[in-house]
Structures are given as C-alpha cells and as structure tokens.
Amino acid sequence: MSDFIGDWHALLVLLLAGFLPNEVWRMLGLWLGGGVDEESEILIWVRAVATAILAGVIAQILVVPPGTLASIPPPLRYGAVAVGLVVFVAFRRSIFLGVACGELVMVTGKYILG
C-alpha cells in the first residue's frame, strides 16, 4: 500500500465497514426523524454506549499504541494524557490548553529521558 491509491481491497473495506455503517444511521435519521423524541431513554443509552466505545478506542491507542507512539514509555503516555485532562478541568474546560499541555509533557519528557 505504498502508492497513493493503495489496494482496492482496503478501499472496499472502507466502503463496507466505514462509509455504509455511518451513512445508514444518518439516512435513517432523515427518513424516520419526525417521530423520535431526541431525549428518549433509548437515545440516552445510545449516547452512553457510543461514548464508552470511543473511550475504549482512546484507551486502546494509549495501551497498544500505533506506529511511533510506541516509542514513548507507557508511564509517559498515560502521564501526558492525565496532565492534559487535569489542565482541561482546571482551566475552564479549554480543549486547546489541555491538548497543548499534554503534548508539552510528552515531548519534554521524552526529550529528557532520551
């Protein structure tokens, strides 16, 4: 998969496992939208499950990191994200400050550790 297009199998996977599963829910929303109470109990569950799946993926990236992120020692990966979260909570929920501080911790930490 070194060239620009890559292999067709991967693009087929993108269509089947990426595009369709998302588009189906959007189009269902368009066709059935009228009769659904957006604060109904089932949608609270839906949101909770979607949030938890995303949280699981975040954990997966940190625990089993892809690519060059694997070169960062685990305590430093967890520490950087923890600092980002604390800064985010402490400074009026600023995503920008949280991300910047988390990144700073990881880069300086890795630089010092070598």
Partner: protein, 276 residues
C-alpha cells in the same frame, strides 16, 4: 455544558432535567459571528448563503479541534499503513472522526472486517439523534427529502453543535444552502488536515511523529469530556477508559464492542438508578 453537568448532578434539578424535553444540547452563541441581519437583502440567493456558511468555519473554535483531530487521523492512517487516498476518502465519505479512528485502530491491530464494521456501526448510532435534532431547523413546508441528503451527510458532532449556534441567525429559506456551505468548508479543511498529518507522520523525526499521534487520544478525550452533559455520559467515558484494558486481556477480537456496550449499559443503569 458545564452548567448542564452541575444541574444534572445537583439534587434539586435532577428530576426536572429529565422530565422536560430539552434539545440535546444548546450551546450558547459566542464568538464573533459576523452574519447579516435576518432581513438583510444580503441573504438573497442560495449562493450567497452558501458562501456565508463556508465563511463561518472561521468563527468557530471547534474548527481548531477538528483540524487537530484530522491531523492526528492522517498520521494514524500513515502509521497503520493505509494509503493517502484511503485516508482522504475516509475523511470525505465516512466524515466521522471516531468511526475513522475505530476503523483504523481495529484494522491496524488485525481485527476482521466484520469485527471492525460492527464496532463502527454501533458507535455510529449516535449520528441518528444528531440528524433527528438538526433537520427540523432546516425544513420548510415544501422541502423535499432529497434536498436534505447532503446536509444529513455533513452532520457529525462539529456541524451539529454549530447548527444550534448559527441556525437562529440564518433566514429559514437559506438554511440548507448555508449548512451545505458550512459542511463543505469543514470537510475541505479536514481533508487538508488529513493530508498534512499523513505527510508529517511520514517525514517528521519519531518524537514529533509520536506527538502528532498523541493528538488523537488527547483531542478526543477532551472534546468528549466537554460534550458530556449527563451523568450517564461521564460514567460511560470513565468506565469505557477503565474497562477496555481489562476486556482486552481476553483477546476476543471484539474487545472494543464488549467494553463499550457493557460500560455504556452500566452508565445507563447508573442514570436510571440515580433518577429514582
């Protein structure tokens, strides 16, 4: 959003907040929105509305978060050995950051297509209520369903939040054109970000490559935390983070799905229990 959380956690308001039907989220209008007045002749014509929509991407701080996220996704695609075309096509057609990350991480770690598709499908259910809550703002009595297909495709968390902020400032008959402009603007910026991230991961020294990959978990953790409006969301986030490493010890191949559905269901249970 913070206020909502306090409200849900606070004892007095807790019951009310569930009984009354509120919009999913009503972000306050802030930032420098520079749109003409509702009755201004500047709104004449769909093309003008489309351009105003496109220009509005510069008025949102969420654009920065989106950009950082897609730089991270581009880098992730590179490091999981997908082609640049694949990465750009996923941004254009999937147009949902979490789904793209789930897909990349799942396929990159050797899951089967069915396992990946299952996890993506379940995570994408959240798009349904977003579409349901946005479309009534765009609809006119004579609006045809096919006019709403493109706006529906553009709906993901960023556009959803922005619609609540901007739609009241746009004349109803121009809203579809406006949202198409805004959506296209967001997609084009994200395509640029995907491209940049992919190339940065390919060319930067490892330390900075790692820093770009860290953008994904950081930006997603914090923007998800910011979108938590009810106790159930907070519990789901914390429990989802904690449960995945445990479930992954069993190496089922659908670890994400198992940890996500259990953590989400427990969170929903806590929400039910607290309400009593």
């Amino acid at each position: 959003m913070h206020k909502d959380l306090v409200k849900v956690n606070g004892d007095r308001d807790r019951q009310d907040s569930h009984r009354t039907v509120r919009p999913l989220k009503t972000p306050k209008a802030k930032g420098n929105v520079s749109l003409p007045a509702l009755d201004s002749p500047k709104w004449q014509g769909s093309a003008a509305a489309f351009l105003y929509g496109m220009r509005s991407i510069t008025t949102t701080i969420l654009m920065l978060v989106l950009f950082a996220t897609y730089v991270g996704i581009g880098a992730l695609a590179h490091d999981t050995h997908f082609s640049l075309f694949w990465a750009l096509a996923s941004t254009l057609f999937v147009w949902a950051g979490p789904a793209q990350i789930i897909l990349l991480v799942a396929l990159g770690s050797g899951a089967t297509v069915i396992q990946a598709a299952l996890a993506v499908t379940v995570s994408a259910i959240r798009l349904f209520p977003m579409v349901v809550s946005v479309l009534p703002m765009l609809r006119m009595p004579d609006t045809k369903k096919r006019q709403l297909i493109l706006p529906s495709h553009f709906i993901a968390v960023t556009l959803w939040v922005e619609c609540f902020r901007l739609m009241p400032l746009v004349p109803r008959e121009r809203r579809i054109a406006f949202v198409n402009g805004l959506g296209l603007g967001l997609v084009l910026s994200s395509l640029t970000a995907t491209f940049i991230g992919y190339h940065l991961a390919a060319n930067l020294p490892p330390l900075f490559g790692a820093a770009i990959l860290l953008l994904t978990p950081l930006a997603f953790l914090l923007s998800t935390a910011r979108n938590c409006k009810q106790l159930a969301d907070v519990v789901a986030l914390v429990l989802g983070l904690a449960l995945f490493p445990v479930v992954s010890l069993f190496n089922t191949g659908v670890d994400i799905l198992i940890s996500g559905v259990s953590a989400g269901t427990i969170a929903y249970g806590v929400h039910r229990w607290r309400r009593r």
